[in-house]
Every structure is written in C-alpha cells, then in structure tokens.
C-alpha cells in the first residue's frame, strides 16, 4: 500500500493524485527482509555525520548532537557501522 509520510493511505481513485507526484514521499514501508539493524550508541557518537553521508538509503538524519535511524526503510546493509570512526554503531540481529 502507498502511504505518505503522515501514514495517510492512497487507495481509491478519489485520493490518488492525477500524476505520480505528491508533496509527501509516497513510498511503501520497505525493510521486512532486514536480518540485522544498525544501532547507535549516543555516548560514543561525536556527531560527525559520516554515516549520514554514506547511507545509500538516506534513512539517517540529524538528531540533536547525534543521529537517528528510520527503521521503516533501513535495509540493514551495515555501511554506517563500517564507516563509523568512533565504533558508535553496531549491528544487532533482528528477531
């Protein structure tokens, strides 16, 4: 199902836009196949945002002095964990 960022669902002719363009991101939650997820230790993180630059899915965003990760779209590739100079990110098995 297509949802916008406010979780509003687009399902009928009436509410689907006339062109594939919309002011919010119309994407489906897409992370079900993830086996591991990155977790950030905020005490170790120095807020360099290297992980933000390298994340291929754009799911890392600034959160105060550290970062937050959007697990709805994170594919668990682990690039952020590999690139982190402070070992602030580790991968946790999904259960």
């Amino acid at each position: 199902m297509i949802r916008d960022v406010n979780e509003k669902a687009f399902t009928t002719l009436k509410n689907i836009p006339f062109a594939p363009a919309y002011k919010h991101t119309l994407v489906s939650v897409n992370s079900g196949f993830r086996t591991e997820k990155p977790v950030c230790n905020r005490d170790k993180c120095n807020g360099c945002f290297l992980c933000y630059l390298y994340c291929p899915d754009g799911v890392i965003s600034k959160d105060g002095e550290s970062i937050s990760i959007n697990y709805d779209y994170c594919k668990g590739c682990g690039i952020c964990q590999k690139i982190c100079r402070k070992d602030a990110i580790h991968m946790e098995k999904e259960r």
């Binding site: 689907i16 363009a21 119309l26 994407v27």
Partner: protein, 385 residues
Amino acid sequence: MTKEFLSGNEAFAYGVKLSRPHVISAYPITPQTTVVEKLATLVEKGELKADFIHVESEHSALSAAIGASAVGARTFTATSSQGLLYMAECLPYAAGGRFPIVMMNANRSTALPWNIYGDQRDSLTLLDSGWIQAYAKDAQEALDLALMSFYIAEDKRVATPVMVNLDGFTLTHTYEAVEVPSDDEAEGFLPDYETDNKLSLEEPKNMAFTAGPDTNTEFKYKEHLGVLAARDVISECEGRFEEYFGRKYTGLVEQYRTEDAEYIVITLGTLYKSVCECVDKLRDRNRKVGCLRLRYLRPFPKTELIEALKGVKAVGVLEKDISFGNEGTVYTNVCSALQQSSFNQPCSNYIAGLGGRDVPLSDIEEIFEDLEREQNGVHFVGLEE
C-alpha cells in the same frame, strides 16, 4: 496579423514562437531540421526569449523537455522517424508524468530500407504511448495547431503531451501563403502555463515515483481520462481560436461533401487535399463520393466516425502505413469503432505512399471505383505484379 510565404516547418516554427515556450530542446533530423533551425535563429536574434538546449540525441531531447516541464516550463521538441523511435522510451514518461509537452513530428518512413521521405509509420507505431496525436493538412493548420496544442495540453483536465504530425516533405517543405498572428493576438489566445504538477522550492515534492500493482491501474485510468477529456477541450479551444483569429476548425474530424455520399474515403494529413480534388472530379460525373479526414487519432473520433458514416454504402481507409502481418493501423482503429455501431457495410484498407511514393489522383479514382465493387480487405496501391 501578417501574411507570409512559408513552408510547413517554418509555419510551425512561427506557431511555436507565438506560444512563448521557455525551453526548446531538439536534435536535428530530416525532414524536421528546418523547424528547429528556424527556432534556433529566432532565439539567436532575440525575437524569441527561450532557452534552446542543444542535446546529443532525441532520447536526450525529450528527457530534457520532461525535466523542464517538471519545473513548470512551457516546453517544445521536434523530431521525425528514427529520431521519434529513439525517443520512444521517454514518450510514456512524459504522458504518465502528465507533462504537457508539445512535439512536432515530421512524418517519415522507418528503416530498413533506409528512406527519408514521408509516410506515417513512425507516429502510428507510437499511437499507444499516451500522447494526443494530431495530423495537419497544410501549413496554415500547422501554425494553428502549434498554438492550439499548448492550449489543449496544458488544460488541467487534459495535462497530456501533444504530438502534431506534418507529412514529411509534402507538408514540411512545401510553401504556401500563411496568416501569421501578431504576438499580442497570440498572447491573448494562449495564457501562461500554470500548474501544481511541478517541482518548486516553496512546495517540495516527490515526482515520478513508483506505483505498484495496488495503485498502478488507478494512475493509468486517470491518464486515459486525461486523453478522453481532450475531446471537450479541443472543441472549446477551437471555439476560442475562431473568436481570436477567425479561422474555424471542425474538431476531431473534417469532412468534405459527405452529406449524401455513398462512398467515403477516410484518410490523414495532406492526402486529404488530393482525395478532395478527386471527390470534386467524380462529383462532376454525378458520383456520390466524399472524404473524411481524421484530424486527431488520439483521442480517437469514434462517435464522429459512426455519425458520419451512417447510410454509406462502402468505406475505404487510405493510409501511409502498414502494421506488418495485419493491416493498416488507422484501418484497425476505424473498424473497431464501426464494430461498436450498427454499421454493416464493406470497409476496405488501401496502403499507399510508403517511403514517400506519390499518390496520384488516378490511384485515388481507382480506390473509389474499387469501393463500388464492394471489396473488403487490405490492398497495396500501385503494387506491380
């Protein structure tokens, strides 16, 4: 308004100039070249304030046009034959994205054998690309269609790109006297392009996204409704056009002496004028014949056709196209429309003018004679055994 001696391509270029496009992106190909040459000259001289993008291919030409249209620019491109086929991938992108780009296509044969002359195999191959398709009969109509196409494409009910087809060489390169409206007159007729379907810093949005099986049908249905909505918008636009410029157009079809006609030939583009001349000649011999021209193939003039062919004894579809292994594409479309009515008379297909072969009056006369013999099926005109 001034009267100028112009080729079909030049007339179209003036029509585009009067439409005040922001961006023109095109790649030259015979017989389209002179339309973009003319526009490039107008931009160079400062008579047209537009960005002319020199691209490396037709694929890039339409891609650039889509990009420009996606930020709300009025956009024009032009091509022909192999060039149109090369940009084919981008055509449904423009239509599905609901970008009202106007394109001029100089109808030309497709390879192989290589050939630069006119037939309609190029545009008819792309009838299903989601674009509105118009076919001009002369240079005046070419200029007028350029102006009207932006109006139709940009209407919010339509929001669909338009392809205007000019017969290669027979129209693109022949000269006639053309009435050219003034900039002020044209500005009154055609308002600026306004849309919400654009990227902007004030209102960021995600454009051209994926729609999976759950919503794809809905998007395609809306695209279909957009092309169908052009029926009304074309009629409104032509009414407005007549108010501003005094020239009258007749919607999706144009008819000549069909009122009491028993035998009608249906055709496209410049062939219409030849068939009309033949109709006059045969009418002098008291033969009840007429001609009908499909001005638009998408949206398809289904109801107009059914209405026009009531009481007719036989119909022939004369086209410069063949869908190999079947029949002419226009014929397929006409037969499909007639199948949905009570029409129960012979309807035959005449394939002529391939690769620019001349279609003389004698051939058209033979087609009318053939119709009286009530033949069905597909005939290649002028094919020597």
